[in-house]
Amino acid sequence: MAEKFDAIIVGAGPAGNAAAYTLAKAGLKVLQLERGESPGTKNVQGAILYSDALEKIIPDFREDAPLERHLIEQRMWVLSDDSHIGTHYRSDDFNKEPYNRYTIIRAQFDKWFSSKVRQAGALVICETTVLDLVKDDDCVVGVRTDREGGFIYADVVILADGVNSLLAKKAGFHLEIDPKDVALAVKEIHFLPQETIESRFNISGDEGVVIEMVGKITQGMVGTGFLYTNKESLTIGVGCMLSDFKQQKISPYALLEQMKEHPSIKPLLANSEMKEYTAHLIPEGGYNAMPKIYGAGWMIVGDAGMFVNAVHREGSNLAMTTGRIAAETVIELAAQNKPMTAANLALYRKSLDETFVMKDMKKYKKMPEILHKNPHFFTAYPELLNRAAHTMLKVDGVDKKSKEKEIRQSFVGKRSLFGLLGDAFKLWRAFE
C-alpha cells in the first residue's frame, strides 16, 4: 500500500477536521484517519462552540450544523457547602444574529463537520488507529495503522490525536504529560423536556444558559464545575487538576455525585434522565507546558499541543484555529514547491504567534502555577464570600456596622491582611 498523500491528518476532532477541511478545499490530496466507529464517537467536550473560529473555516455553518442553543446568559457561581453567591450576565445583544456561542453535542457536531470534510474532497477513514509515525532519518514520512499492511505515506502528517498525544510521545517529540498539566473532567448528560429546561432557566426558543462554578464542589482541588443547557438535555460536569486528584485521592464520580446533591444545583436536575457518563482530560498546563509543535514532516494541532485557555474555558476554538493555520501553512509551502522541512514549517508557529491563540497562551502563562500554589482561591474565598453575603442578608437584630466588622474579621482571620493583599496582587499579575 504505497499510496502517497499530500497530507495525513490523524484524528477527526475540531482540530483535525479544521485542518482536513482547509487542505481538501484547497485541492490537496488529503487522508484523515479516525479511530472511532464514526467521527465524534471518541470525543468529549462540555460543550460550547465559539462561532468565530468556525466561521473562519465554514462561514455559513449555521445553515446546517447541529446546534443546540445560542447562549444569552452566563452565570458565575461561587459555592460553599450549602449556598452560592455569584453573577449573572444576560444580554439581549447575545440574542441577535449572528449568534456568538452555542451549546453543541459533540457526537452530532463532529459527524456534521466530518461530512463537510468529505464534501471538500478528503478521504476519511474511520475505525483505524494510528500506531506510530513512520520516519526516514529524522523526517516523518507517514504513519503505521492497525490495518493490514497499514503503512501510508504523505509529505506531512498533522497530529490532531487529542490530549494524550501518544504519537508525538512515541516518536520522541515530547515527554509524558505531567499530572499538574492536565485536568480530569467527568460529565453527565441529563435529559428533560424542552419546556422544563426553558422554565427552569428562564429562556425560550433556542436561548441557552451557561453556569460556571467554583468553590466547595471541588473539595479543595483546583478546578471548576459547569452546567450547560442543550435543547432537551443538560450537561453537568466537574474538572480538577489531575495532580490534585492524585494527591488527595478523590474519586471523580463521587465528586460529581456530590456536586449534583448541592442544594443550588439539585433542583435544576430534578426528574431528569441520565443517558451518558463521560470522562476526559483537558490540557491546562498553559504556555509553559506546551510541547514542540512542528518538526520535519509533522505538526501538532489542538489539544495534543496543549492549546487550551483554561481561564476562559476555551479549547475547541483554539483547536480549530491551530488546525486551520497548520493547513494554511501546508498550502502555502506546497504552492511554492517548498518541502515540509522543520525550517519551512516554522511558518506555522510564526503565523500562530500573530493570532489570539498564542497571544492568550502567553498572557495567562503564569496562571497554572499561581492556581497550583494558591488552592485557597477554591476553598477559603468561596466560604468567606458566601458567609459575608449570609451575614449581610440575614436580618437578626444585629446592626450593620457590627456585621461589617464581623465580615472583615472573618477575611483577615482566614487570610491575614498581607495574605489578602498578596492574593489581590497575584491575581492582578496573572491577568495583567
Binding site: 460543550a47 457526537a107 492497525d146 494524550n164 499530572p179 492524585k246 457518563y277
Partner: protein, 97 residues
C-alpha cells in the same frame, strides 16, 4: 455518598469490547503490590477499572474504560501502565460526547 456505584453510570454508555485484547495493561504487577504505596489508580480512574485487592495487588479490567488517559499519567512515579488506544472501532463509543 460512599455508595456511588460507577457501574450504574457506565451502564448508560455504549461500548464495543475487544474481548481478549485489553488496550491497557499493568506492566509489572509486583510494582503495584510491593513498591506503590498510594495506588491512586484504584481511586482516581473515572471508570473504576482498577481495584485494590486486600493483598496489595491491583486488578485491572478495561471493559468500562472511557479512554481518558488518567491512569497512565497519574502513575508518574512508577510508569507501570502500558497504555494504547483500542483497535480501530473498538472501546467506548460515545453517543453524545
Amino acid at each position: 455518598m460512599n455508595a456511588v456505584k460507577v457501574e450504574e453510570k457506565l451502564f448508560q454508555n455504549r461500548y464495543r469490547v475487544d474481548a481478549g485484547h485489553p488496550h491497557i495493561t499493568i506492566k509489572n504487577p509486583d510494582t503495584c503490590r510491593v513498591q506503590c504505596k498510594t495506588q491512586e489508580c484504584t481511586v482516581c480512574c473515572p471508570a473504576g477499572c482498577y481495584t485494590a485487592e486486600g493483598n496489595g495487588q491491583v486488578v485491572l479490567i478495561t471493559d468500562g474504560c472511557l479512554e481518558c488517559g488518567t491512569c497512565r499519567i497519574i502513575c508518574s512515579e512508577h510508569r507501570n501502565v502500558e497504555w494504547e488506544y483500542p483497535r480501530g472501532g473498538y472501546g467506548i463509543l460515545f453517543k453524545f460526547g
